[in-house]
Symmetry: C2
Subunit: 360 residues, 2 copies
Amino acid sequence: MDDIGQKRRLGRRSTPHRGVRIQEVAKLAEVSTATVSRALASPQRVSPEKRARVLEAIAKTGYTPNLSARSLRSQKTGMILVVLPDLANTFFSRILRGIEETLFEAGYGMIISDLDGSPEKEAHFAAFTAAGRVDGAILLNGHLFGQSRDGQGRAAEIDMPIVALCESIPNADIPQIEIDNRAAARKMTQYLASRGHRRILYVSGPTGNVLERERYRGYRDGLRRAGLSFEPELVVPGDYTIESGMQAGRFIVEQRRRPSAVFCTSDEMAIGLIRVLLSAGIRVPQDISVAGFDDIEFAVVAEPALTTIRQPRQELGRAAASALIALLQKQETPRLIRLETELVIRDSVAEPRPSRDGRG
Amino acid sequence: MDDIGQKRRLGRRSTPHRGVRIQEVAKLAEVSTATVSRALASPQRVSPEKRARVLEAIAKTGYTPNLSARSLRSQKTGMILVVLPDLANTFFSRILRGIEETLFEAGYGMIISDLDGSPEKEAHFAAFTAAGRVDGAILLNGHLFGQSRDGQGRAAEIDMPIVALCESIPNADIPQIEIDNRAAARKMTQYLASRGHRRILYVSGPTGNVLERERYRGYRDGLRRAGLSFEPELVVPGDYTIESGMQAGRFIVEQRRRPSAVFCTSDEMAIGLIRVLLSAGIRVPQDISVAGFDDIEFAVVAEPALTTIRQPRQELGRAAASALIALLQKQETPRLIRLETELVIRDSVAEPRPSRDGRG
């Protein structure tokens, strides 16, 4: 075990700590080398006290734990890059938890990059990835390095396992993990219609975003199934942020003929929008119903608590990490994995006031 | 310029793309090599259209942009690791924005690691750092790799620039960037007392956390200055999360003699706590006033809008990144930088009801 670990380690790119051997870690931690290996491979088989000593010794010596001993033949750096479109969106926190849990069980660490819509930043991360500083990548940004969102342009030739999560990438031959955004948006629209709403305003995501495209289709599907006509003036642009929800709220406040329900395609927008309505003396849900999408942590503590679509965020993260690990182990991996969403009914949607519009 | 760039690049550790030269990037982008250099070093001097072509070509070829051309002699990987204690806390989003902006202007990319309280994960990142896969690190977790929070244990010998942000690290000889947590908590406690509150409940952060220690001292200072006696039963444990705020809220609901004001040491706890009070029919601020700490994005859209302490989050991030860049450039850097906080008065704090307690 130790010899194998040592050989593997020497096969890596040289580092300032190339001399550090498992024996040194064992000595510093005052345990056997077998215990060091076990503490990394099967932590539950080592006492917490010994385990802490081993990990402390690893940190002090700079030894790179060879977790690849667990048959991960292709592992080189032990790190996976996760590319996010916007870290500030709290939607991602549980997804990252799910990714990290699963990667960690397989002996990988996760590092995160936040693109923030910047092509310059993307060039940085593409170079970082291409330089082999990670073993694989999970993309949540809807396109491959070097491509645009609609799949135009030649993708960067990066020879490592990559999977796409949440925002699917058109025509990319990689595993893609997502929810059925169209079906989820249809479900919410039909629910609002079933409560009696006839004028359902839609607050969109960013233009060109694949999630937005699918949710918008679902909204149209839902209207059609409920026998409601589509009215273009009931579509208001947003970008999933609190601020854009507040803007949509101000737009509604200024309307003479207001909708009886608003479907925000993110919870952050719904929370911002509700704030603006309440400040203008419009009660939610008594005067206007508001629904969200995602079920972030703040949805349940919002006032009123948000009716929304729950995405299985942690499970999405776990599924993406599992698919990536399968690729790293050269196993067969399905190209498309779709997880189920759930309509979560709380307090922000009610029946429309019959007095205000006549038709709801 | 190009020759220097080329030499530097060859001096790096070998990568799958070691053959990629700036000339290839220039050819693919249909610009001169000087334009490639300029697009990276002084982007504003290159047209957006050309710049996009260059960045696309960089991504496609896997060329590692040698941004160190801007006199950053010690730059090797172009990447800085940011270590967070809990990524799920939305408090960090703007801090990360500030770090990234400043790093990016200096030609560095940011990658993020989330420790989530796990020593195993920490060993991973310590090894990653020690292996030279980044050029420096910004620690927001309150201790050096290999040490405990109280500075016990020998720190890992990692030979690269490191700065501490928000959670200061005792006795560490590195630049530390923070707010004056004690003064800020004292300010909030005195404000609550100035509104007439006599029984101010304190919801703490995690035990052993330096932020918690300082804020608790500030709470005690504030009580003393306001001439209020400290009552141990008015301290309720929390850990900065929404869930722990909800727990504190349930505790208050069950009390016969309730406080007239609650000082939550994070906005997330305040939002969770308010939710529980409202659900139990306790009005905020009419029955109980609630204050937060941090001024996260959700504070202003909360219902009622949160009275809180604003941390200059983006500026904190920028200051830490600037200090790190100074270290990377071997410049003198102050050991302690403290930024100002601000008491933000919104709607969640009012005078106590005279009828309920007699003393407020």
